[in-house]
């Protein structure tokens, strides 16, 4: 790519344009970093000089120290792993099951019509309200947290995928029918590949939602995990611990989102 650019003699105005683009990009990145640094610096200074009480607001240096301490005694890894495990399992079950239900609802119009109001109600219900019921039914602990996570993701997965399946151009279905495709072939040759972009956006939504699910589940009942650390830290007034767990959570969620966007890039490149 770079070699190609060298070969072509661009006009002056184009060079100026490219320069402006680069400049714009530079300033965007500069301010991103600047805002973060300013925020952290101000936070650190205000707590250092006693304007803010680090007991209530913590401080960047204390958070880092806390993370290091947690990492050294191994609790950070074990708690992170538990939450990550719950999130990934919940994410996987919700995505696969939600997708499968969407396929069934696409397949059978009558079933779809029958279940429509149920899905709408389930979607508008705040899933956290089901917390006590879940604990009663599946028991407190990891399985309850996973169920919570699944409940939060699954309805939106089914609804988004179903609407993607149903939005396929009628003419494309007619084309396959004119070639005497059966319903299986219409599903696998048209409906599923055609809805790949929507599937990737569902994955992206689910990354966020499954973290919400597992942390909410841990708030509800847990003995370990990042959500547990946050609640525990809050109860014993150790704001450093709360902040440290939150930072780790941010990093994990970001990495998972980044992996999905890598998948998206790979997909759009090969499309």
């Amino acid at each position: 790519m770079k070699n190609k650019q060298k070969q072509i003699n661009f006009s002056k105005s184009h060079k100026a344009y490219v320069k402006k683009l680069r400049k714009d990009k530079f300033w965007v990145i500069f301010f991103r970093i600047f805002i973060l640094m300013a925020f952290l610096g101000l936070w650190e200074l205000l707590t250092y000089y006693g304007v803010l009480d680090p007991f209530f607001v913590s401080s960047p240096s204390r958070i880092v120290a806390q993370i290091i301490q947690l990492a050294e005694n191994g609790t950070l890894l074990s708690h992170s792993w538990i939450t990550l495990y719950e999130t990934l399992i919940g994410f996987a079950i919700a995505t696969v099951l939600g997708y499968a239900i969407a396929v069934i609802l696409w397949w059978n119009e009558r079933v779809r019509k029958i279940f429509e109001p149920y899905i709408v109600v389930l979607n508008s219900l705040p899933k956290i309200a089901l917390g006590p019921v879940i604990i009663l039914w599946v028991g407190a602990g990891t399985s309850a947290i996973i169920v919570m996570c699944v409940l939060i993701c699954i309805v939106i997965t089914t609804m988004s995928m179903l609407s993607a399946f149903l939005s396929v151009e009628e003419g494309k279905i007619l084309l396959l029918k004119s070639m005497h495709a059966n319903k299986f072939q219409i599903l696998f040759k048209l409906i599923l590949p055609n809805s790949m972009p929507e599937f990737i956006s569902v994955l992206k939504i689910n990354v966020g939602m499954s973290w919400v699910g597992s942390i909410m589940g841990e708030y509800l009942s847990s003995k370990a995990g990042l959500g547990y650390l946050i609640v525990y830290g809050g109860q014993i007034l150790r704001i450093d611990l709360v902040m440290a767990a939150t930072v780790v959570l941010c990093i994990l969620a970001f990495v998972m989102y980044w992996l999905v966007s890598l998948l998206e890039k790979h997909y759009t490149k090969n499309r």
Partner: protein
Amino acid sequence: MENLLTYENVSYFYQTKNDEIFALNNVNFDVEKESFVSLVGPSGCGKTTILSLTAGLLKASSGKIILDGEDRIDTNKIGYMFQKDYLFEWRTVWKNITLGIEIQKPKNKEEKLAFAEELLKKYDLYGFKNKKPRALSGGMRQRVALIRTLALEPKLLLLDEPFSALDFQTRLSVCDDVYEIIKSEKKTAILVTHDISEAISMSDKIIVLSARPATVKDTIKLNLQGETPLKKREDPTFASLFDNIWRQLSNEKQAKTN
């Protein structure tokens, strides 16, 4: 020449929630082998219904449709080409063209694939074999769509306004391309169109339909001079034919509003 398709007193009703709609009323016409027939009529008169009936996607309420000497529709003999190209963006040109073969899994699959490849070569698309459809121009996409239809070797091609989504310049040249391909493959074709000049320039016969419920108002046999549709537009009788059909259609429109 013998007939490939004959409509004998075909009527068709379809149901909506509030009404039963009388779409076709005793339609009679025939299509000779290797001829090009156009259906013109006021919009909403049931032209597409005729194509759907012919393709076996709908069943006539009464009357007979005789295809290739048989009183039933053998859908293997029909190739359907739509208004839009409906190419699948995630498949390469080759995968799009062989879609029908992939679906029908015919016994002579190898032969069919070889034939499809030959068509690609013949109509200058071989270089795009492994490209995705978005790399093609509108006219090329429509050519790919035609080859996808031809790859199944249908006896009768149904063209449902296949050029209406193209801009005027492309439309004229694609029209020539498609005409040439259909003639050189010795196919029979039925074209549904709103464009009277397109119908005149391409057809051996034009069937003028009335407003709904559609019945055949007029059948016009054509014999214009010229190798291609574009050349045929220069024929001296072109203008009077256009005038004739246009008058019939606008009478229908008036009758409808009165």
